[in-house]
């Protein structure tokens, strides 16, 4: 017997490099994007939801609120963009919840990959979902008669701002997805948290007619800032202040919910 018996297999690597970790994340982003293509129900809902909002709100509220559908569409479309994309973030939580329930996360955890890759990959992949939502809303809105009265550049900025905000919001959704025991739970908690936030704003109606206490809430609601920034970028008006405030809120939401979600995720894993 020699002192050093030949190993039957090469020794495993000691630690995962940053580049491998990034590659893991991109592989799992690829997975999320592939799943958008194959999950027709999700894709259909994702595209039909903004169309439904646009048709309903424009023709139901339009006359009453703005005295005409075209005037209302110019007012409401930026809000409906915000609404669609915020609700689309719920999908992130739902998918995570499903992944945990059906055991695929156990598979990921048993592999020598970066621990945060499944979470980061799911969220990056969802950027594509959010982009679809933004594109459909804007596209269908323009078919209905919405006109961008600023410049293409600020329209692009409007879309980017939405995506940045969605990337922050989806950490909140991810947290719910990780905490809830069932997909129904994700949906309920998500809606209960997001409805007051979305509709307690100037997103569909001007805040002027609301009672004082509600106006106070509307004034500090991040959705209000985001909607104002979108209006400014798409149809003109002040941009800098609401955009900076939306970005600060996005940062705040990210700083609070991303570490919480990562912590819950790590405890589960």
């Amino acid at each position: 017997m020699t002192a050093f018996a030949a190993p039957a297999f090469p020794a495993p690597a000691r630690r995962l490099g940053l580049r491998s970790g990034l590659r893991n994340t991109f592989t799992l982003t690829w997975r999320s994007v592939l799943k958008i293509r194959t999950n027709l129900e999700d894709l259909l809902g994702l595209s039909l939801q903004p169309i439904m909002y646009l048709l309903l709100f424009t023709y139901v509220f339009g006359g009453a609120i703005a005295g005409g559908t075209h005037a209302y569409l110019q007012f409401s479309l930026p809000g409906i963009l915000v609404l669609s994309v915020v609700f689309a973030t719920l999908g992130t939580g739902l998918m995570l919840n499903q992944d945990i329930a059906n055991g695929i996360f156990d598979r990921f955890r048993s592999l020598p990959i970066a621990r945060s890759a499944p979470l980061a990959g799911a969220i990056l992949g969802d950027l594509v979902r959010y982009s679809i939502s933004v594109a459909v809303t804007l596209g269908f809105g323009m078919i209905l008669g919405f006109r961008i009265t600023t410049s293409p550049l600020s329209a692009i900025a409007a879309c980017l701002l939405l995506l940045v905000f969605a990337l922050a919001m989806c950490w909140f959704s991810a947290l719910i997805g990780l905490l809830a025991k069932t997909p129904q739970g994700v949906q309920w908690f998500g809606f209960l948290a997001m409805f007051p936030l979305v509709f307690g704003s100037n997103l569909l109606v001007p805040a002027a007619t609301m009672p004082g206490w509600l106006q106070a809430f509307v004034k500090v609601n991040p959705i209000t800032y985001l909607t104002e920034a979108e209006r400014g970028l798409l149809t003109g008006g002040p941009v800098a202040t609401p955009a900076i405030r939306s970005l600060l809120w996005a940062l705040g939401i990210f700083i609070v919910f991303a570490p919480l979600a990562v912590r819950v995720y790590r405890r589960k894993t």
Binding site: A5, P7, F9, P12, T38, G103, I104, D106, P112
Partner: protein, 333 residues
Amino acid sequence: MRYDATSANAIEATGLIKRFGKTTALAGVDLVARPGRVLGVLGPNGAGKTTAVRILATLLRPDGGQASVFGYDVLRDAYQVRQLIGLTGQYASVDEGLSGTNNLIMIGRLLGLPRAQARARAAELLARFELTDAAGRIVKTYSGGMRRRLDLAASLVGRPRVLFLDEPTTGLDPNSRTDAWAMIRGLVSDGVTVLLTTQYLDEADQLAHDIVVIDKGKVIATGTPDELKARTGGQVLLVAPSDPARLAEAATLLEALAGAEVTTDAEAGAVSAPVADKALLPRVVRELDGRGIELAEFTLRKPSLDEVFFTLTCHRADDEEDTQTRELEDTSR
């Protein structure tokens, strides 16, 4: 050297403890899997089998005890352990929203294979598990058996040295089970160490070189299948009267003579009892003959693992308490 595979055991666990709230799922479990062998972990539902596998596969932190895979600690060296293991869970853990091919490519890519190699490895494994025809289909449309096979394929992408199979054949039809067994034997002949949990004793009997019986979070027996069979003492005598109406009478008689509990199988019209002493046989025949009970069958055989298992655990698998542990394990996922 720590990876000296010639001296290290493939899996080693000592004193594993895991609690879920007030329930103790593992109350100090020791087990060893030798390299290139199959270790069967047997036990009723809720015995702690899945908890043990999840700890060994780095998915769950134990509350006490130590475990290692080829010398690498499952807590301290989890990253190394993950490079050596493959896991096929009790619940098929493949992505239902992807095709079979994409599931395997994804895992190959995650394991660092270049795109072309990941694709080739996927095709190779799909062919090996007879899934080539369904390769492009979304897994949601697969049958239970196909999903299991894909799950097994997924755990083999990285050519693991140690494979954890947590109830790999639960819910499979007999044909697929036999296929799965053949595949497992094939892997073992390639030098893979397998830890297999199962409720099916014939499965352990067929595949395992060593068996650990766990019940209520404790190891209650270890040994080779033959050793375990020998442990329950001697052999089993089976008596079937020609006239089924006299089965009860034969049972009473056998119980008195053997001095042990008999098992009556009314459907088969047979009664069996463990016999420690072969001198008992002529006496049984004489007594039965004396009462005019004609015999259709009279056989002496080794006990099945079922009988061993029943003797060892001495309780039904569906105890309430066990179901509870199982539920707790599930919610902890």
